[in-house]
Symmetry: C2
């Protein structure tokens, strides 16, 4: 058993700054008190301890408080991506069987109809009911659930346990170090593991979070120049915007700023060199929802020497390439206490690991010095502005249209977003690309809607009739 | 499964400095290579993987290499206290059923007769035999065994697992922080948990150890003044010597020096004030063999405000006082992943915990702000220069003498050592105190031999005839 993180942190360092949002700030003791109040209010509204609830909203202190309240109640928390369509959300709510959605007032209209829900303001205005808050948590307890798509089929709800999150945070600290005055700037979504892992680190490390609900590049860059914060998580596209802002002002990162963790796909070499000029240490990472954040990182010192590498595993993690000769290119496999025990819902019976090894579907190799290079993300994964897009998911949507006979989706390089999805379709009835675009917009989050739809006579397939998405790319 | 710490650390940071001893130093890669060589040599000499072996020697690189070699072979390593008598060692070797002793050449004569043994030089001169070194370790695997005495009966062999050590090191880092350039000065014995935990931290953190086989106060203090090291573990008596040396030179600790962990009993208030004058941050800790080092620590900031307190638990640990009213004085109980799963040998069946809680036998209370105060160490424990001395053990030795009818031992305050043991005896035959002293010297490590033996007509006992050791103290 492990202590309830929120209670333990408030006990150990009650007066330390925990959260900063615009002009307001909260100590760990204040977060504890307010989250306990929310837990008591949720109890009044019928949220049972240990039940599965979904939560949706922008990255605000209200969201953090609600998250902590659910943790106090040992709920299994389904973190909904607020960029999804009603259809996509409906799928996740049905699959997860979440008993209700706790939703920020401004996101209420994004929810599909007929969903049991409470807005944050309804909750905050409710009476409180006494409830025994668990002082300790089991290492196997599922704290969070995030949906991720895979090679084929439907999105899968990935369990992230107390043990997964703790292992991730402690392995990370052994890599990047820790000081009392460290502070993380969080401008990545809290519904992604990149954001949620900042929450976990804050509680375990006792560090403050500077939370942003918008990517306000001017203010964020100023924090880096002034050294108000020491750490930040970025994707390539946000890194570029910060670099651009630093360059415009001819400014440098403060010596107090320690490290920027860059995830969600490779960082262009040019960005690394520009960061170096601005004295901004960038650490490239390789991680995923199934590993509760980072598995490997490339240190800043190695950034230019090992360009394109995702570095070495964190201390408690193991990496290997699954290929017959023991070296060379193959599927990246991951083992460690940070690897999910499995899925919920439709895929609950699907094993995520083989002999403890997570087969990622990503292709890579490990060089002679032990550095990982990721060549291809699984399932021809398209990474657009840090969001994962699975071609199969878009193809499935296109195929539900009566006019579409075949569909193939791949990523196209894009200066701003890294990649964007484009689609190739074989028609059986006449339809315009505009009509197909509108159709997709109803079914898919905006970032997943193909930027271009191209009509073709046939799709490239191999002998087994398997779609060759890489071939599409060349076309 | 967790990675073999030595291989993983050498993989992640091969060229970092790992160990400094006098004028020599080793990188993590070099320690790996040399420890693997020793593992291959031990294999030639018949040491089986997973077997239980004992190890004895001063704190030298040879000792560290041998320890790592045994870890590679996944041996259960019995760490022998080289200050013990042959009789005491014979007990531990018999109880642990260690198949052999790996002994430093200079310690060979300290071993009891008829013990299967190899000296470090014999091992270093042996041929090497190939053996598969485990790449990963189970969390339940017992890495080390240390003997500790208890309230009653014989010394008990305490298991310390991979999980215990990892939990201890990660919980500690969340409290004291970590930077790449940190370096620990180790002048506490490696056969105690205070020393072994520095070894574990070095591997997990990637930090250098400055190792000392003698408490060379001049050189050690110079490291603190120069800031070559950032951390050190001390007991009250060694802290005093460092303070005295700083004061003589009118010197201060370097700003690079971060923290001194003071364990093995309370630190006198006067020392804390003197340390404050010398800008030396002292953190008081509470820990024991059964908890793989620290359970609680008092931060330096709180040092003077909460004088006499052992602070708050480390993040993953829980503390409570076992007493009927829920507050007030009572037995200190500890829960967490750092708590031993149990004993070996004679006490293998004795449970160490109740519902996961280790009942320490120590008496204390937790104040309104959650700070632990330790009032009495278990079993009237005497702490002398950081070594634990159990009155029962000395009493048992005295009682084996034919002239002794009853014996009672307690601690006497001592300016240098904190406490020293003194004995009260009721005789049945005439004998001199000198003769009893000589008898004790044959049976007990020097620091356990009573500094004074006082003949009395009767011992203070309660109604149940239980010896009242606290009453003895007053006499």
């Amino acid at each position: 058993m492990y202590p309830n993180w929120i209670l333990q942190r408030a006990y150990l360092t009650p007066t330390r700054q925990a959260l900063v949002f615009h002009e307001q700030s909260w100590t760990f003791e204040q977060l504890k008190e307010q989250s306990l109040q929310r837990a008591h209010q949720l109890t009044t509204l019928g949220v049972q301890q240990g039940s599965r609830v979904a939560i949706m909203g922008p990255s605000t202190p209200y969201f953090v408080m609600m998250l902590y309240a659910c943790m106090h109640l040992q709920c299994e928390i389904v973190l909904l991506n607020r960029r999804l369509t009603k259809e996509e959300l409906a799928y996740q709510l049905a699959d997860s069987e979440a008993v209700m959605v706790l939703v920020a007032d401004e996101d209420q209209e994004k929810l599909p109809p007929h969903v049991q829900q409470y807005t944050f303001s309804t909750i905050a205005n409710s009476a409180e009911m006494a409830v025994d808050i668990a002082q300790e948590w089991s290492i196997q307890h599922t704290i969070s659930i995030m949906y991720t798509s895979g090679t084929t089929g439907f999105p899968k709800g990935v369990r992230q346990t107390v043990g997964n999150h703790q292992a991730s945070a402690t392995a990370s600290v052994l890599n990047i170090g820790l000081q009392t005055e460290d502070a993380w700037l969080c401008a990545v979504p809290l519904f992604h593991i990149s954001g949620l892992s900042i929450i976990v680190r804050s509680l375990l490390y006792g560090n403050a979070i500077y939370l942003y609900d918008q990517f306000d590049v001017e203010t964020i860059t100023q924090h880096i120049i002034d050294g108000d914060v020491t750490h930040m998580s970025v994707v390539a596209v946000t890194l570029e915007r910060i670099l651009h802002t630093l360059e415009q002002q001819n400014a440098q990162a403060s010596p107090r700023f320690k490290v920027m963790l860059a995830g969600g796909g490779p960082v262009p070499v040019d960005y690394l060199q520009r960061a170096y000029q601005r004295k901004l240490a960038v650490v490239q990472t390789y991680g995923m929802t199934e590993t509760a954040s980072q598995t490997a990182t490339l240190t800043s010192e190695d950034g230019l020497r090992k360009i394109g590498s995702a570095g070495k595993p964190l201390f408690f993690n193991q990496l290997r390439i699954n290929e017959p000769n023991g070296h060379g290119e193959g599927e990246i496999c991951i083992r460690g206490p940070h690897v999910t025990p499995g899925y919920i819902g439709r895929y609950a019976d699907k094993s995520t690991t083989v002999n403890g090894w997570l087969h990622t579907g990503d292709i890579g190799y490990i060089d002679a010095e032990g550095y990982l290079f990721v060549l291809d993300r699984r399932a021809d994964l398209i990474i657009s502005g840090g969001e994962n897009i699975y071609p199969a998911e878009i193809e499935n949507v296109l195929l539900t249209h009566p006019a579409v006979q075949e569909a193939g989706v791949c990523g196209q390089e894009d200066e701003r977003w890294g990649q964007v999805p484009i689609a190739f379709v074989v028609l059986k009835e006449t339809i315009t690309t505009e009509q197909l675009q509108v159709f997709c917009q109803q079914k898919l989050a905006r970032y997943k809607v193909p930027k271009e739809i191209i009509m073709v006579d046939e799709l490239p397939r191999n002998g087994a009739n398997k779609l060759l998405r890489r071939q599409l790319k060349k076309e």
